[in-house]
Symmetry: C2
Amino acid sequence: MKVLVLGGDGFCGWPTSLHLSDIGHDVTIVDNLSRREIDLELEVESLTPIRPIGERIRVWKELTGNEIDYVHLDLAREYDRLEALLRETQPDAIVHFGEQRAAPYSMRNATAKRYTVDNNVTGTHNVLCAIVQSGLDIALVHLGTMGVYGYGWSGSAPIPEGYLTVKVPTPDGDIEREILHPANPGSVYHLTKTLDQLLFAFYCANDQVRVTDLHQGIVWGTQTPQTALDERLINRFDYDGDYGTVLNRFLMQAAIGHPLTVHGTGGQTRAFIHIRDTVRCIQIALENPPERGDKPKVFNQVTETHRVRELAELISKITGAEIANLPNPRREAAENELNVSREHFLELGLNPTRLSEGLLEESRDVAVKYRDRADTTKIIARSVWRQGMETSPDLVKPQ
Amino acid sequence: MKVLVLGGDGFCGWPTSLHLSDIGHDVTIVDNLSRREIDLELEVESLTPIRPIGERIRVWKELTGNEIDYVHLDLAREYDRLEALLRETQPDAIVHFGEQRAAPYSMRNATAKRYTVDNNVTGTHNVLCAIVQSGLDIALVHLGTMGVYGYGWSGSAPIPEGYLTVKVPTPDGDIEREILHPANPGSVYHLTKTLDQLLFAFYCANDQVRVTDLHQGIVWGTQTPQTALDERLINRFDYDGDYGTVLNRFLMQAAIGHPLTVHGTGGQTRAFIHIRDTVRCIQIALENPPERGDKPKVFNQVTETHRVRELAELISKITGAEIANLPNPRREAAENELNVSREHFLELGLNPTRLSEGLLEESRDVAVKYRDRADTTKIIARSVWRQGMETSPDLVKPQ
C-alpha cells in the first residue's frame, strides 16, 4: 500500500512511519518540521537526541533496505504542492498526524491559539480538498483525541466510539437519532479536533471521502521495536510544560530527582495508550477503512484509564520521587470518572500493552539515560487557560 | 453605544450600519471590501448601482449629520491591526457579518472552498482572540444561518433556538442533557457556521466572552428606510447564480422576462426574513446581550417559511413570468418540512414584516428600475456540489 504520513517526523508519526515501512508499505513522510521549530521557539529539546529527518531515513534504509521518501511541505500554506503531490504519488491512504498537538501550547498566548486553529483547521481542510480534487479514492486516517468528548459529560455512562443514539422529544413523542457525540473541548487544541470532525462529516457526505478518525488517549512510552533498532532512529521524548504528557513527564521528573508535578488534586481520570499500540492501531485502521459514502468511522484509541494521582503514586513507589501538588493551570473538572468504549480495536485484534508489563521500566531507563540533557527550567507548565491560573515557580533551580 | 460592524459594506452590514447610526449608536464599519472583489472575480455587479463605501458614508453624513467611521481591514489576515483597533476604539459591541456568505460560491471550486473556510473560521477566531486580548468586555453579535440545523433532521418537530434537550441512554436509565443542536450543514459555507458555533461555545466557557449567534433565514428585499433615503445609499441586490438568493432572484428574473429558475421540485421549505427585520433583529440582539459566563445566546432570525415552488408560483401569478424547473446543483433533500421556533425575537418585540405586505412590489420595482444593468449570462447557477450535477445552459441569450 502506498501511504503518505503527514507529520511523519513527530512523536507518533515517526514510529508509525517505521512500523508501516517495516510491514511492507511504501511510505512517504510529509512534514514541515514545525514540531522541531516549536522546540526552537520554546528553547527546549527532546530529552532523547533525535536526529534530522534525512539521517533518520538514511539509517532506516541502511538497516532494513526499506526506502521512505520525505517531502518538506506545509499542509496549511502549500495547498497547490499538496494537491500535486497526491496526483504524483497516487497514494492508497493518508495518515494525518500533521496538527499542532499540545493543549498547553495552544493556550500559551494569542499567537499560539491562532497558529493552532489556522494550522490544524486549514491544514485538515486542505487535505480533504486535495483528496477530492485529485479524483482518487484515498482513505484518510486522522488522529483525533479523546478530548473531543470532554470528561464527565455523560456521567458514568461509557463514552461511545464517536456516535451516540439519543431520544429527541417531539410533539408526537420521542424520536431516536444518532448524533456525533457532543463536543466538549477543554483547550483550543482540543477545539480544533472538534472542528475537524465536522469537516470530515461534511466531506464524507458530500464527496464520499473515506475517513477514519482515531480519538486517542494520552500516549506514553518512547520506543517501538523499530525506533529501538539504532540510537539514530530514537523517538522524541517531551518533558517540558507544554509538550510533555503526564506519564512520560513523571518518569523523567523521577529520573532527575524532580518532584512529580500533579495539577490540582490529580483526580482527573484520563485514557492512556502505549506508543507501541498507537502504531498497531494505525495499521488496523488502514486495513479496515470505511466504504465510500459511509460517515466517518470513529475508533477510541485507548487501552486503559487511570487517575493522574494514581500514576504519580505508582511512579513514586517505584522510584522514591516526591509528589508536588501544584495549582492547575487548566480549566477542567478537579475529579472525573471515565468509562471508554474501545470495542472496535479489540474486535480487530489489538492485544493491548498494559502499564504493568515492564514498559514503565523501559521508559524510565530512557529517561535516566538522557537525563543530563534536561533543562529543569522547562518542567513547570507555564501556559494558563486564563490569567491568574499560574501554577508555581520552578521547583528545582538550574545547576 | 460604540459598535463595530464587521462586514459593514455588505448586503446585511450596510443597512444595519445605517440603522444603528440612525438610532444614535456610534458606528465604525470594518470591511476589506471582499464582497466587491468577488463581484470582480465573478464578472458581475449588484443590480442596484451601489456607491463606493467612502461616498456612502459621506452622503449619510450630509443627509443626517451622523458620522460613520470606516476601517479597511482583513479580519483573517490582519490580526494585529484588529487587536489594536479594539484597544483604540474600545467598542461596547461588535456585530460580525464579516464572512463569505454564499453557499454556491463556497462550492464553486477548491479555491473558493478553501477561501471560505480560511476567511470565515480564521476571521471569527481572530475576532474572539482579539476580544480576549483586549481585556475589554465586548459583546459579540454574529450572523449565523438556519443552515446549521439542516433541513428535515428532526422531522416535523420544531427547530429550537440553538439548543436541544435530549435523553441519553445510560446503564442507569436515561439522563437528560442539553446539547447544541447537531450540525447538518449543506455546503462548505454552512459548514463554516457550524465551526463558528464551536468556537463561540469554547470562548464563552473559557474566557467568558459574551456571544449572541443569530441563525438567519434567507433575506429578501433590498431597501430599509435609511438606504431608501437617497439613491447613493442604495443597498446591494444580487441576482447571479452564486450570490442571488431565491426570492430576490425570482423578482429580478420576472423583471427582465427570464423564467423563474426553480431547482428540483421546488419542494424545499426555507425560512425567510425581510432586510428591514434583519436590521431590527440586530438592534434587539445588541440590546439584550447574554451575561458574562453564559453559553452563547442563540436566536432564530426568521419570520416565516415557504416552499420554493410556492414562492415561484406567487411571483409568477403577480408578474406572469414562466417557471423553469432545472436540475438541482445542490446535494439536498428534494422536499422537506420546516418548523422553526422563533420565540426570542417575538418576545423581545419584533413585529415581523410579512411577504404579503406590499414589500414584494417594492422589491419588484427596484428590480424593474435597474433591469438594464442585468447580465443574463450570470443568472443560471454554475456552482455544483459534485461533478455531474450541472443545472442547465443559459435560458436567455445575451442581447
